[in-house]
Amino acid sequence: MKIAGSFNVAAPVELTWRAITDPQVVGACLPGCEEIEAVSPTLYRARIGVKLGPISATFAAEVEVLEEEPPVRVVSVTRGEEGGRASHIRSENTLTLEPADDGGTRVSYEADMTVTGRLAKFGFGVMKKKAQSLAADFAGNLEARLNEAASGG
């Protein structure tokens, strides 16, 4: 399942890069992210809860940074597993930052996600909508945080 999208934030590229590569910022902006820790500069662990109608799942996820090209591009792989419930997710992600015309930053993301186990029995069509809405929420939260920082908050 491929998910792609982009959003603009008002902050310049350098600032956006710092925020988007800071696990604490990402953890705070990602809906359902219950905890996140940096194991090494290129490895993060997180607990992420997702809910789709009556179905809820909590994943222990690991994000490994494979390539980093500051401040424009980061390639990572996310592996998640649901404790004891035999559902796995794997996602290869590319995040690209570029200056926007208004001095802000255009953030583009692409993810190629596979889901196996019990959750795969549920339709991918709606799962994709859900992933897109999570991405939109993340963008909104990040934007709010950056704006807050820009206004000296």
Binding site: G53, P54, I55, R118, F124, G125, V126, K129
Partner: protein
């Protein structure tokens, strides 16, 4: 997991006041999801023995109150539904297949809120209200406000659906449900619920809800209102389908691509209106 079979609405509501409790209505969806290990409620509250949820009654004002535990088969055969209200029975008769229609209930279907289910657009077009009951008391919501997002409704934890209330449809209106599916009984690729009234050549009542093309049924009341009194010819229908198209947010899935759904939904609207007009002119 606990299993409770209360015999009254009050007892059911009381039993539902627990962490991770779920109502078991017909089981057609919930048990399938339990079998697939997608959900595992800690407490199941079976509504089977709650007789008050199993009735459907036509009120003096012509509205019809359908208990949450009415089976699809019962709703498909419901003689209390008249005129435009028939949109609901037409939809009920197209859900799945006979054994599933013997099990599934209107309350269960609404609570699960599958975006491709048949009841939500029919309820939206019928201007139905959903009656909820919880520990705090009762409230009713219009269908538009009840279906909130993908598989999400306005139901709060500890609340259950008591009934669905269809307001009276103006005399002489026709209600129909037009469903495009890969095979009979499958979930819809796209569907159109319609309540239409014509006085001569003038449109006197119009409600169109598109199903299976977004998280909730799509209606454009503003355009419907503008079209009242007019002829409902090709250009008017085009205005409506263009407006509806703006509100569609279909999924790509095994049944059809999002693009296909966008293309086919306006055609289904045209087909539904043409058929309803023909049906109305035949009865006048």
């Amino acid at each position: 997991m606990e299993f409770i079979r209360p015999d009254s609405i009050d007892a059911a509501v009381a039993a539902l006041q627990a962490e991770n409790a779920a109502c078991l209505a017909g089981g057609a969806t919930l048990v399938a999801m339990m079998n697939a290990d997608l959900v595992a409620p800690e407490r199941l509250v079976s509504l089977r023995d709650v007789a008050a949820l199993r009735t459907a009654m036509r009120q003096p004002d012509g509205s019809v109150v359908i208990g949450a535990m009415r089976r699809h088969r019962e709703t498909a055969e419901e003689t209390d539904l008249r005129d435009g209200q028939r949109v609901l029975s037409d939809a009920a008769g197209q859900i799945a297949n006979p054994p599933v229609r013997n099990m599934g209930t209107i309350g269960g279907s609404c609570a699960f809120a599958d975006p491709a289910a048949d009841y939500p657009p029919a309820l939206a077009a019928a201007d139905a209200r959903i009656a909820l009951v919880g520990a705090e008391g009762r409230r009713t919501l219009p269908a538009d406000a009840f279906f909130v997002d993908w598989y999400e409704t306005a139901l709060e934890p500890g609340e259950l659906i008591e009934s669905v209330i269809l307001p009276p449809a103006p005399a002489g209106t026709a209600g129909s449900y037009t469903k495009l599916a890969r095979v009979a009984g499958d979930f819809a690729i796209a569907s159109v619920a319609l309540v239409l009234g014509m006085e001569g050549d003038a449109c006197s009542h119009l409600a169109v809800a598109v199903g299976a093309c977004g998280p909730a049924p799509v209606r454009r009341r503003d355009v419907e209102t503008e079209l009242l009194g007019g002829g409902l010819g090709d250009s008017e229908i085009r205005r409506l389908t263009d407006a509806l198209a703006d509100g569609l947010d279909p999924v790509d899935d095994v049944r059809a691509s999002a693009d296909y759904r966008r293309r086919v939904a306006p055609r289904l609207v045209r087909q539904a209106i043409a058929e309803a007009k023909q049906c109305l002119s035949g009865t006048q």
